[in-house]
């Protein structure tokens, strides 16, 4: 009898958890318009232009069934709608005047700001993400470079994916092996950093491919140009998806103040310990007109020492990287320990320069995008002591010393480079 009693109670609990779910808050999937990407621009006829890229589930399903499918197929998998409204939430209401399905933000993957709007401040609009239950803090924050967010979304027709949500995720996660764009672009990090005394946010920098055809851009100055020495919208390329992600947008608090290129982004990822790996090219130290390529990855988290005993902090950063040689155009024998250090030093110098350029830029802009303040605050016992140090005011004046060490560990499938046949 006793066993029956508690079994009844358990069943009652389970039923209670299930029952209320179905009555008021049900939402039929085929009556809902799931927004995948949102774009925000300054309005012309009203305060704000809100653009939504909405999934067309029937076409998404069809494309998936037909293998690769995608925008190259016959049907559009998304519909882009835009409206000018006084507020963000008002725009959603207004959209439902011409979208018959109820707009839902439960599957939003990314929010894109125009540069113009981002320079006025983003939290005015992003605050809704922290409050509105339909949003998640894993939404990516991006800035459209040189183009409006609406135009960017209209041009967002992924070539390799039928599902734009998957495209957004894969395009962003490519930073794991390119280190060209932020690997922590989520609203969570953005919002936390915007509210922090020891950090400033970074967003994805996205643009459409440049109008100038490949080969007709500015001619090469010197013998080479680094693969990361570009901003979104500048890559000399043909084909692929229309949007491109390289570099990042720097914010001071919630206001866009600058941008960094792909190389500087790599430096930032190294300092923030989010760097995983990237192919890095550098001139051959023995034959500078030829190039070498190395797959670089972290050896340990960077050592960051900050001396806060003086009013102006002193910062020392030590970065230890490992590399796998991918290519040596000169056929120099860098596998030999007698020459290896030359290539290691050349790589270290290149990466150090990227880091220094990045830090110089952030100090000039007065932003702590590398989140060095988070390390500095460990030296304080109480929050008041930390606040009284006024980190954001003194950080731009801080002398920073950077040391980079690269150790080459693997050399591919070759034991030693044979001399060039000529």
């Amino acid at each position: 009898m006793k066993i029956v009693k508690y079994k009844v109670l358990v069943i009652l609990m389970v039923l209670f958890s299930l029952l209320p779910l179905g009555c008021w808050d049900y939402q039929e999937i085929d009556e809902t318009a799931f927004v995948l990407v949102l774009g925000l621009d300054k309005g012309k006829e009203n305060k704000l232009t809100v653009t939504a890229q909405i999934a067309v589930p029937r076409n998404l399903g069809g494309s998936a069934l037909s293998g690769m499918g995608g925008a190259g197929g016959q049907t559009e998998t998304t519909e882009v709608v835009s409206v000018e409204a006084p507020t963000f939430s008002a725009a959603l209401n207004m959209m439902n005047a011409f979208v018959n399905r109820r707009i839902s933000l439960k599957h939003v993957k990314s929010v894109v700001f125009s540069e113009e709007l981002a320079r006025e401040g983003t939290l005015t609009y992003l605050a809704v993400i922290g409050r509105f239950p339909e949003f998640r803090r894993s939404v990516f924050i991006a800035v459209a470079r040189g183009i409006s967010a609406r135009e960017l979304l209209e041009s967002n027709k992924p070539v390799f994916e039928s599902n734009p949500a998957k495209y957004v995720e894969l395009a962003t996660l490519a930073a794991r092996f390119t280190a060209f764009s932020p690997l922590q672009p989520q609203f969570h990090y953005f919002y936390n950093a915007a509210h922090s005394q020891g950090a400033d946010p970074v967003g994805i920098l996205v643009a459409t491919k440049r109008q100038t055809p490949q080969g007709e851009g500015p001619p090469l100055q010197g013998t080479w140009r680094s693969e990361g020495d570009y901003y979104s919208g500048e890559l000399p390329r043909t084909g692929g998806n229309t949007p491109e992600l390289i570099g990042a947008a720097l914010f001071k608090g919630d206001i866009l103040v600058g941008e960094i290129n792909g190389d500087e982004m790599t430096g930032l990822m190294i300092l923030r310990n989010t760097f995983e790996q990237a192919f890095v090219s550098t001139p051959d130290p023995l034959e500078p007109e030829l190039m070498t390529a190395v797959n670089v990855h972290m050896y340990t988290a960077p050592t960051i020492k900050i001396d806060v005993s003086e009013p102006i902090p002193k910062i020392y950063i030590k970065v230890m990287l490992e590399g796998d040689v991918l290519g040596i155009q000169s056929h120099s024998n860098f596998e030999d320990p007698r020459f290896r250090y030359l290539l290691e030093n050349a790589l270290a110098q290149r990466i150090k320069l990227d880091i220094i350029k990045l830090l110089q830029k952030t100090q000039d802009l007065g932003v702590d995008s590398a989140w060095l303040g988070k390390k500095a605050k460990k030296h304080f016992l109480t929050t008041k002591q930390w606040e009284d140090y006024h980190w954001k005011e003194v950080f731009p004046q801080a002398p920073i010393e950077v040391e980079v060490i690269v150790n080459l560990r693997r050399f591919g499938l070759m034991r030693e480079s044979a001399p060039h046949p000529q």
């Binding site: 609990m13 209670f16 009555c23 008021w24 239950p133 016992l381 008041k384």
Partner: protein
């Protein structure tokens, strides 16, 4: 004493911890107001204070092992003062039930079902509470023993699965608002552990042959649960963001994102959390019924189930909104419940020690 089956000390500790456990959903946010980056230390301080203070009701109940706290009040304080003490104890559980009902409904609706009316959710929870109370203490205890692992594990699941969002730097500066503020916070939040008072209400039903200090164990495990979850939440949210968040642990669960294939698990977890709320409400509602029956010196509580259920429901509707309900719990109930949980037994203990004619049970 109301006739109930005997339950073991382990079951009692589990019930007490499960009664304390719903505090994990918002304790960290309140603690951050007091201790800033040292929010977890505030919870630890509150727990340590509760550990020390739990000696008072333990000492009292050990002197009267065959009586409930209300019956001890009658015996020690006399007819009129004993009634007043019993009324305060009943009022404590009545408030606990009503606020639990309202806050649970508000939390679930805010986070998961924004279009469902609050009274509907409260009514659903009340049905479970009345069902649990009808089945009695032993049934609740056994059900809790069976389900507690599952319910408590789901508290840790989102914290573990957000490991990619952990930032240990969020804990620095280590002393946050400073030691005095941590101490004040600890005192103000001692009410987090007020639910251990249930031990005093069901004391005669506890099988004491197996030994162990159920008071200390209840506070200790409750404290461990709260400190670990607060630390987990702090690793994810920096202080200013933690302070402004209404349900930090719920937000953590909504953040789970481990690639394309492991995300959006919050709806699954919520299922268990609602179960946890339901258990807690069943328990405190039963305790309210028990203390009312003991106050009126009646042998059965079941005749009161529906009438008290209506009162609890009506009282639960009084707070104007979720903010007011939250304030009543965190700003008033947590700050003042020590007077009932530790103060009242302290007075009874002193009187029983010094007043002639009071015999230990």
């Amino acid at each position: 004493m109301i006739p109930e089956g005997k339950i073991g000390p382990r079951s009692v500790v589990i019930m007490a911890v499960l009664a304390i456990s719903p505090n994990v959903f918002y304790a960290s946010s309140i603690a951050a107001d007091y201790g800033l980056n040292a929010a977890w230390m505030v919870i630890l301080a509150a727990g340590l204070l509760a550990l020390i203070a739990s000696y008072i009701p333990k000492k009292l109940m050990d002197r009267f092992p065959q009586q409930t706290i209300t019956e001890v009040g009658y015996q020690v304080l006399g007819k009129y003062l004993g009634f007043a003490a019993g009324l305060m104890i009943f009022n404590f559980f009545l408030m606990d039930s009503s606020l639990s009902l309202r806050l649970t409904a508000d939390r679930v609706l805010t986070a998961y079902m924004p279009n469902t009316p609050v009274p509907v959710m409260m009514l659903a929870l009340l049905v479970v509470g009345i069902g649990g109370a009808y089945l009695g203490l032993e049934a609740i205890a056994r059900a809790v023993v069976i389900a507690h692992w599952l319910l408590l594990v789901t508290v840790f699941v989102p914290i573990v699965l957000t490991v990619n969002f952990w930032e240990p730097d969020n804990l620095a500066p280590w002393l946050g608002a400073g030691l005095p503020a941590i101490g004040i916070g600890g005192l103000s939040m001692i009410g987090l552990f007020a639910d251990i008072f249930l031990i005093a209400v069901i004391y005669p039903s506890i099988s004491k042959s197996q030994g162990g200090n159920i008071w200390v164990s209840s506070v200790f495990w409750g404290m461990l649960l709260l400190v670990i979850t607060t630390l987990g939440v702090q690793l994810v949210f920096p202080t200013p963001v933690l302070s402004e968040t209404l349900f930090p642990l719920t937000q953590v669960s909504r953040l789970v994102y481990m690639g394309r294939f492991l995300q959006r698990i919050d709806a699954f977890i919520a299922f268990f959390w609602i179960g946890m709320y339901a258990f807690r409400f069943s328990l405190v509602f039963l305790l309210a019924l028990n203390t009312l029956t003991q106050l009126l010196r009646l042998p059965y509580y079941r005749p009161f189930m529906f009438s008290l259920g209506a009162v609890v429901f009506a009282l639960g509707l009084i707070p104007r909104d979720i903010m007011e309900a939250t304030y009543i719990v965190t700003g008033i109930f947590w700050r003042t419940s020590w007077a009932i949980v530790f103060g009242l037994p302290g007075i009874m203990l002193l009187v029983s020690l010094f007043r002639k004619g009071v015999k230990a049970g």
